[in-house]
C-alpha cells in the first residue's frame, strides 16, 4: 500500500521573482512522470528537514510536464524555500481536495476577484478557462494589490488583455503619483461599475481573509445569491487528507471538502474568514 504521507521528489527548474516577497517556482518530477490535478486543488510541498505546507498550483492543469506554484515568503518554511535555487529538490504530495467546478460555469459570465498572492490559484483557473473560452459568455478578472510593486504576473497581463472575451480590471490600494494609471482603491471598488448579468453569473474569490470577507459582502449587496459565490478557503492543512483536524471549518475539513466552497455552504459558520 502506498504511504499517504510520503512525498515524491521534484526539482526546481525555474524561479521567477514576482515581487519583493513572492516567487513563482516551476517544478519537474524526479521520476519524469506527468502531473495531474484539477484547477483549484492543492498540493502539500515539503522543504526537506524544514516543513511541509499546502499551496495551490498556479499553472494550467493542461500543462502536465511541470507545475508552477507561486509562494509568498511569510513563515519559516517559505523563508527557506525562497532561498532555494534551480536544481534543488523538494517534495510534493497530492493533489488534494475539490477544485473549481469548471463544468458548472458553462454558458455563464464569470467574475473573478483576486487579491494579492490570491491571484495564484486564480491564474490556474484563468488559464483553464482561457483554453475553453468559447464555453463562457464572458470572463472578467478583477485584481487588487497593495501597491503597483505588489502586482504578481506583471508579464502576463499584456497577453491576457488581448484575449477577446476576457476583461481585466486592476486596482491598487495606494501608489505614488504617476506610477499607476488604473483604479486606486481596495479591490471591491472595481465591482461598483461592473456590467454583468448577475442572474447568469458566478463569482470566484481568492485573497487574504479580510479581502474575501468584504468581497463576499459586496457581491451579496449587488445581488449575487450565496450559491453563486465561490471562495477558496484556507487553514493550515497539515495532512491534506481529512485526518489531522487542523483545517476544520464547522463540520467541514477544508482539505477534503474544499478548499473551494460556495458561500451558501459556509455562511452559517461564525467568522469563517478568521
Amino acid at each position: 500500500m502506498k504511504n499517504i504521507y510520503s512525498p515524491i521528489g521534484a526539482k526546481i527548474i525555474k524561479i521567477i521573482d514576482e515581487t519583493a516577497n513572492i516567487k513563482t517556482f516551476t517544478f519537474k518530477r524526479l521520476d519524469n512522470q506527468k502531473f495531474s490535478f484539477n484547477t483549484g486543488q492543492f498540493i502539500e510541498l515539503t522543504v526537506f528537514g524544514v516543513g511541509e505546507a499546502p499551496f495551490t498550483p498556479s499553472s494550467s492543469p493542461f500543462e502536465t510536464d511541470t507545475i508552477d506554484v507561486t509562494i509568498m515568503k511569510t513563515g519559516r518554511m517559505t523563508e527557506v524555500l525562497h532561498s532555494m535555487k534551480e536544481g534543488d529538490v523538494i517534495g510534493l504530495r497530492g493533489p488534494y481536495g475539490n477544485g473549481y467546478p469548471v463544468e458548472k460555469f458553462n454558458g455563464k459570465e464569470i467574475l473573478i476577484i483576486g487579491g494579492g498572492v490570491g491571484l495564484a490559484p486564480l491564474r490556474s483557473l484563468l488559464l483553464t478557462l482561457i483554453a475553453t473560452i468559447k464555453n463562457y459568455r464572458k470572463i472578467t478578472l478583477n485584481y487588487g494589490a497593495k501597491t503597483p510593486q505588489d502586482v504578481v504576473y506583471k508579464y502576463l497581463f499584456p497577453g491576457w488583455k488581448k484575449i477577446s472575451g476576457l476583461e481585466i480590471n486592476r486596482s491598487v490600494d495606494k501608489c505614488q503619483e504617476g506610477e499607476w494609471n488604473e483604479t486606486t482603491g481596495v479591490v471591491t471598488c472595481l465591482l461598483d461599475n461592473i456590467k454583468i448579468d448577475i442572474r447568469n453569473s458566478v463569482a470566484i474569490v481568492c485573497g487574504p481573509p479580510i479581502m474575501m470577507k468584504f468581497t463576499t459582502l459586496k457581491l451579496l449587496s449587488i445581488g449575487y445569491r450565496s450559491d453563486q459565490i465561490y471562495l477558496s478557503m484556507e487553514r493550515n492543512m497539515s495532512c491534506g487528507l481529512g485526518k489531522c483536524g487542523h483545517c476544520q471549518l464547522g463540520s467541514y475539513f477544508i482539505c477534503k471538502d474544499g478548499p473551494v466552497f460556495t458561500w451558501e455552504q459556509i455562511k452559517d459558520i461564525q467568522d469563517p474568514f478568521e
Binding site: 500500500m1 504511504n3 499517504i4 504521507y5 510520503s6 512525498p7 521528489g9 524526479l30 515539503t46 522543504v47 526537506f48 528537514g49 524544514v50 516543513g51 511541509e52 505546507a53 509568498m72 511569510t74 513563515g75 518554511m77 517559505t78 529538490v89 517534495g91 487574504p208 481573509p209 484556507e234 487553514r235 493550515n236 497539515s238 495532512c239 487528507l241 481529512g242 485526518k243 489531522c244 483536524g245 487542523h246 476544520q248 471549518l249 464547522g250 463540520s251 477534503k256 461564525q270 467568522d271 478568521e274
Partner: protein, 347 residues
C-alpha cells in the same frame, strides 16, 4: 457463537493463547488491572488478577493504534500482534470514531491500519460504573454491543458468556473455546438482568445531568454555538493544559513534523495535537481561526457533539469521563452541557 466460561478457565485459555501465539508472533497482551493501568504480559505468570469488573483503564485506548508520537514512514513491526483484554463499551465507541476518521473517511491511514489490523479486542461488560462515567447520557451502554473480536458478559461473579463479533474472534473461539457449553436460557436472563442493573447504576450517577425536556446533546451544543458569553463563562477555569484532548480516547488530531535529511533520506513523524492549543488554528502570516480561549473550548464541544455527528451520525464523545477526571479546572462536560440548556430556547 456463544459459550459459557468460568473466570479460571478464561485465564487458562489466555495462557494457552499466549504460549501458542508467541511462537508465531511478536505478541503483546495487555490486561486490565484494579489500579486502572494496563499490564503488559511479560510471561505466563503475569496472566493473573485480570480486573474485568473495573471501569475503562486510565490510558485512552487510542494509544494502541495511534501513538502519542509515531514514525509515519517506518512504523511496521515484524510479525506484530496485540491482544487487548477488558476494553469497555465506551472505548469501543472511541475505536468506532477513530476507524471512521482513519480508515473510512476517504484516505486510509497506513500506520493506523497497520496496528488496527493486528489487534485482537476482547471486550467486557462494565458492571460498576463510577462517578465520572456518563455513557447513558449519550446513548451508549455500559456493556458492549458491537466493535469487538471477543466479548465477555457477566452472568454472575465467576462466569461469563463469551461471544465472537468478528472473523478473528470466531477463529479464536473455534480454536480455544470449542469444548465449552452454550449458555442456557437462565444464563442469558441473568446476564440481561446485570445489564439492566448496570444501566440503572450509570443513570443514577447521572440523574442531575439529565437534560430538560429529554433534549439531546446535539441540539443543545449546536443551538448555543453563537452565545459567546456562556462559552466564556464555562471556560473560565480552563487553563489550556490540553489534558482533555490528550486523555480523550476519540480525540484524533495530530501534527506532522518533517525532519528528513533530504529526498533520499526521508523522516517524518506525527505527534498528537490539541484543538485547545493556541497555535492549533494558526496559519502562516499570523491569522488564527480560534484566537480566544472560549473559541477553542467551544470547538471541542462542537467537534464531539455536532460536527462529527453531522459527518458520521454518532457522537465523537464516548461518555468515558476521562476529561472530567483530568481537568485541573474542575470542568465537567456534563455540567457544561447542562448549563448550555439555560441559554437556548425551547418551543
Amino acid at each position: 457463537m456463544q459459550k459459557i466460561i468460568q473466570y479460571q478457565d478464561f485465564i487458562t485459555r489466555l495462557c494457552q493463547i499466549y504460549e501458542e501465539m508467541s511462537s508465531n508472533y511478536n505478541l503483546d497482551i495487555y490486561l486490565p488491572t484494579k489500579d486502572l493501568k494496563y499490564k503488559e504480559v511479560q510471561n505466563k505468570e503475569d496472566i493473573v488478577d485480570i480486573s474485568l469488573d473495573s471501569i475503562r483503564m486510565t490510558e485512552p485506548v487510542k494509544t494502541f493504534f495511534f501513538r502519542p508520537k509515531e514514525d509515519l514512514l517506518r512504523y511496521e513491526k515484524e510479525n506484530f500482534l496485540q491482544i487487548i483484554v477488558g476494553i469497555k463499551s465506551c472505548d469501543l465507541s472511541a475505536i468506532k470514531v477513530l476507524d471512521a476518521m482513519f480508515l473510512e473517511k476517504g484516505y486510509v491511514d497506513s500506520s493506523y491500519k497497520f496496528f488496527r489490523d493486528r489487534t485482537i479486542i476482547i471486550s467486557c461488560d462494565c458492571p460498576k460504573p463510577e462517578k465520572n462515567c456518563f455513557c447513558s447520557l449519550i446513548n451508549n451502554t455500559p456493556y458492549p454491543t458491537s466493535g469487538y473480536d471477543l466479548n465477555l458478559e457477566f452472568v454472575d461473579d465467576t462466569r461469563f458468556i463469551l461471544s465472537s463479533g468478528s472473523v478473528k474472534g470466531e477463529d479464536l473461539l473455534d480454536k480455544y473455546f470449542l469444548n465449552y457449553d452454550a449458555p442456557t436460557k437462565d444464563d442469558i436472563v441473568k446476564r440481561d438482568n446485570l445489564h439492566i442493573l448496570s444501566v440503572q447504576n450509570v443513570k443514577e450517577i447521572n440523574k442531575e445531568y439529565l437534560l430538560e425536556h429529554k433534549d439531546d446533546y446535539y441540539r443543545v451544543v449546536k443551538e448555543s454555538y453563537d452565545i459567546n458569553n456562556i462559552w466564556q463563562e464555562e471556560s473560565s477555569t480552563c487553563v489550556q493544559c490540553k489534558g482533555c484532548n490528550f486523555i480523550c480516547p476519540s480525540c484524533y488530531c495530530f501534527f506532522i513534523r518533517e525532519s528528513s535529511k533530504d529526498f533520499e533520506n526521508q523522516y517524518r513523524d506525527r505527534v498528537w495535537d490539541a484543538c485547545h492549543s493556541t497555535g492549533y488554528g494558526r496559519v502562516a502570516g499570523g491569522g488564527n481561526s480560534r484566537k480566544y480561549k472560549f473559541q477553542r473550548f467551544r470547538n471541542r464541544y462542537q467537534c464531539k457533539f455536532v460536527y462529527r455527528k453531522d459527518n458520521f451520525n454518532f457522537y465523537a464523545c464516548t461518555g468515558c469521563g476521562r476529561c472530567i477526571e483530568v481537568c485541573p479546572g474542575k470542568i465537567d462536560i456534563r455540567k457544561v452541557v447542562k448549563s448550555l440548556t439555560k441559554v437556548i430556547t425551547y418551543a
